[in-house]
């Protein structure tokens, strides 16, 4: 029987971790070295938060720099992992009858590459991104996760990267990614306490 791959959630934290070396990035590298090598990766990134469920279908997904105010170094990062249209179609099939769009417009955003460039620095493993439908409740997303479980027996690493509690990214002047700014609402809420 084929080895069942783990599913891993990564708190990616400050996007600058993509170009830094610290205890977190070292731990991510260690995960890459110690996990059985996957055939492909299905990455669920919070930064593709749209009004539908979609999968990237490009054979060479572009590296997306979906943030502002960070040093140029971060904008120069490329993560040239190939795509995997076959995996995209497999995801579409697993999630049926839910309509899943085969998407050619998105690519790999920083939720994916800021971690993966440490876990798999050679970018040789194909990556497909799955979007998160912003209109659906949390229970919907949990159910999608359940339907994706068989992929783990097919040599696919299910990886999700995001990080909760992002309020102070902006406060500390390290720049923002668009979604992080929303955390400021929570800051205001906290100040009222």
């Amino acid at each position: 029987m084929a080895e069942i791959l783990p599913a891993i959630f990564f708190g990616h934290g400050n996007p600058m971790n993509a170009v830094l070396e610290n205890s977190y990035t070292k731990a991510w590298r260690r995960i890459g070295r110690t996990t059985p090598k996957p055939k492909a990766i299905l990455s669920i990134s919070a930064h593709w938060f749209v009004s539908e469920t979609g999968v990237t279908v490009a054979t060479s997904p572009r590296t997306i720099h979906d943030f502002g105010g960070f040093p140029q170094e971060l904008f120069q990062v490329q993560y040239p992992a190939p795509g995997d249209p076959k995996l995209a179609r497999r995801v579409q099939k697993l999630l049926a009858p839910l309509e899943v769009t085969l998407d050619n417009s998105w690519g790999l955003d920083h939720g994916t590459w800021s971690v993966l460039r440490h876990v798999y620095p050679d970018a040789e493993i194909p990556v497909v991104q799955l979007s998160i439908d912003e209109n659906k409740p949390a229970s919907f997303h949990f159910e999608i996760g359940k339907k994706l479980a068989p992929l783990r027996e097919e040599g696919i690493l299910v990886s999700a990267a995001e990080t909760w509690s992002t309020i102070f990214m902006r406060m500390r002047g390290v720049g923002t990614c668009p979604i992080l700014t929303i955390g400021l609402f929570a800051l205001k809420r906290m100040q009222r306490r």
Binding site: G13, I31, H47, G145
Partner: protein
């Protein structure tokens, strides 16, 4: 680096305990978990990806946390591994 906020530490601890115990319902209904959860999850997009991962857990598998800790006061660096 600022010390982690109490609520950030508390929520990470609570969330981990629920994951290990297989108590997914409260994690799905996180809006009812109280102020620590609401401060830690200012918007759902940053939290939902974790649900995809724990939902893939099969019977007999365990959940581990290869990375833990709170960075910069409130940024959870938690990694959650299933299997």
């Amino acid at each position: 680096m600022p010390d982690p906020y109490d609520w950030a530490v508390r929520f990470e601890k609570d969330a981990k305990e629920m994951m290990v115990a297989g108590e997914y319902k409260p994690l799905i209904e996180y809006e009812k978990l109280g102020p620590e959860a609401l401060l830690s999850i200012p918007t759902p997009d940053h939290y939902l990806p974790m649900l995809y991962v724990i939902a893939t857990k099969q019977q007999g598998e365990i959940i581990t946390f290869p990375i833990e800790g709170v960075d910069g006061g409130s940024i959870s660096m938690l990694s959650v591994q299933v299997g």
